[in-house]
């Protein structure tokens, strides 16, 4: 296993927005089937990092290699490079904080859109696969509903179905529960647990401590644009070494003495959440 090439390989990635350096030299490997949870306070660069993995954000410097394909960073836009980036995107699914479902398409339409338009799959085949994906997130009966008629949790589950319908090698989650009311978190997290159990490679930016503890193979803690700590969840939550990680965890625990998922939700509304 250790000898296998990582699905994602990030080296010395830097990214600045104007004068603000958001990523200051990131190295990260994600192996096949691994679930990596990225944590950190707002503004630590975690969202920018995963957006760099499918080039929604262009790294200024460094190397990003996804599924064995490397795309030069900071190389401007050529036709060849654009098609490389698109190729990577078909192998890397993304789930957004605010769902970003296509409002003019039904749930099934959202899920089959990429199959038909990008993968040129025959419509009938796409519908069969799309229905299977909706069933997988527990929304088979909502296939003909428009997003406006779905709850937040249902929308995010359709968004997950849309991402996995492309049969990606990796799925990126950008704070998938942060825009949801607390009582809707579990239905989304359960779908993600299912994906992880099926061996999907996942990179998840989240504040959900219970999820990280239970599902993650590794927790990556970011602070001011660098990865300051990387550990198995049991170790990270029990004895994080970096002072910023420790104060972050203290804040989390303060919000709920019993720990677990409920703690995290409160922690979010307290101080840490809403990383936009």
């Amino acid at each position: 296993m250790t000898e296998e090439k990582p699905q994602i390989r990030v080296r010395a990635v830097r990214k600045r927005f104007g004068r603000l350096e958001v990523l200051r030299g990131i190295d990260l490997d994600v192996k096949r089937g691994e679930v990596v949870v990225v944590m950190g306070v707002s503004g630590s660069g975690k969202t920018t990092l995963i957006r760099c993995l499918n080039f929604l954000e262009e790294p200024d410097e460094g190397h990003v290699e996804v599924c064995g394909r490397e795309v030069a960073c900071g190389a401007g836009r050529s036709r060849e490079r654009s098609s490389q980036i698109r190729h990577i995107r078909t192998h890397v699914g993304m789930v957004f904080q605010s769902f970003n479902l296509f409002p003019h398409m039904t749930a099934l339409g959202n899920v089959t859109e990429g199959l038909v338009t990008v993968k040129k799959m025959p419509k009938r085949e796409a519908i069969v696969l799309g229905e299977r994906m909706l069933a997988r997130v527990g929304l088979a009966e909502k296939r003909d509903e428009y997003p406006s008629r779905l709850s937040g949790g249902q929308k995010q589950r359709v968004a997950i179905a849309r991402a996995i319908a492309m049969q990606p090698d990796v799925v990126l989650f950008d704070e998938p529960t942060s825009a949801l009311d607390p009582e809707l978190h579990e239905e989304v997290l359960n779908v993600m647990r299912g994906l992880a159990a099926d061996g999907m490679t996942m990179v998840v930016v989240t504040h959900e401590v219970a999820f990280a503890r239970e599902v993650a193979d590794r927790v990556v803690f970011m602070d001011e644009g660098t990865i300051v700590e990387e550990a198995a969840p049991a170790e990270f939550f029990a004895r994080a070494r970096h002072p910023r990680a420790r104060s972050f965890l203290r804040l989390m625990q303060h919000s709920d003495p019993e720990g677990g998922a409920a703690a995290e939700r409160d922690g979010q509304s307290l101080a840490l959440g809403g990383n936009h």
Binding site: N54, L56, S82, R86, H87, R89, T90, V92, G93, M94, F96, S98, N100, L101, F102, P103, H104, E113, G114, T117, V118, K119, Y146, P147, S148, R162, A163, M166
Partner: protein
């Protein structure tokens, strides 16, 4: 007035047909040009953007009447002679395109940024994202202003009368000058224009309601 109306009816009917033809043709052409201008403006490619800005400035900044006169009476001096109806259609199309480009542009800009990102995240090209995701939503956003522009254009077709196109207004002028009953004739065509506009605005409302229901 009734006798006059009955006698004028065959000519009025022809006028209505020409008016509607001018309006719909120019609207279709103008919308197509307007979409291209809007895309040029949003392309981020400097010369295209500059062209679009100049286009908008010139055609929105000058009267449509002057544009029609220029094409019909001015271009022959450069050796380009066009018949009245083509002249009118070209002028009206170019004019309405400037407004439509702004309608399309604001519609496209009105679509949430996350929509483009979601489209890209499943591997779409910019063109696929525009066609499948952005444009259908932009069109819905822009439907009210596009509808208003169509109604305005229907009335602007009366400008074609100055270059001898026998549309509704020209018909009224002709019959008026032959019978000296200008008052009645212009009241009649005013009523007809009003009728056309009303039908269009009912259509617009229905369309808006339908679109609101779709999602």
């Amino acid at each position: 007035m009734w006798d006059l109306f009955v006698r004028a009816l065959p000519l009025l009917a022809e006028g209505i047909v020409v008016t509607i033809f001018l309006g719909t043709t120019s609207f279709a052409l103008g919308s197509a040009i307007g979409l291209l201008v809007a895309l040029a403006r949003l392309s981020g490619i400097a010369p295209l953007t500059a062209f679009a800005v100049a286009y908008l400035s010139i055609f929105r900044g000058t009267p449509m009447l002057v544009q029609i006169l220029l094409i019909y009476f001015g271009l022959p001096q450069l050796g380009i002679s066009l018949d009245p109806i083509p002249s009118a259609i070209i002028a009206l199309s170019l004019g309405v395109a400037s407004y439509q480009s702004e309608n399309f542009r604001s519609g496209i800009l009105g679509v949430e940024k996350g929509q483009r990102e979601a489209a890209f995240s499943i591997g779409m090209t910019s063109w696929q994202a525009l066609r499948r995701i952005i444009f259908p939503q932009a069109l819905r956003i822009a439907t009210p202003t596009i509808g208003n522009r169509f109604i305005a254009l229907m009335k602007d077709t009366s400008l074609a009368s100055v270059v001898t196109v026998v549309e509704l207004t020209r018909v009224a002028e002709r019959i008026g000058s032959a019978t000296f009953r200008y008052l009645e004739m212009f009241v009649i065509i005013a009523a007809i224009y009003w009728g056309i506009s009303t039908v269009l605005s009912i259509g617009q409302e229905t369309l808006e309601r339908r679109m609101a229901r779709a999602f």
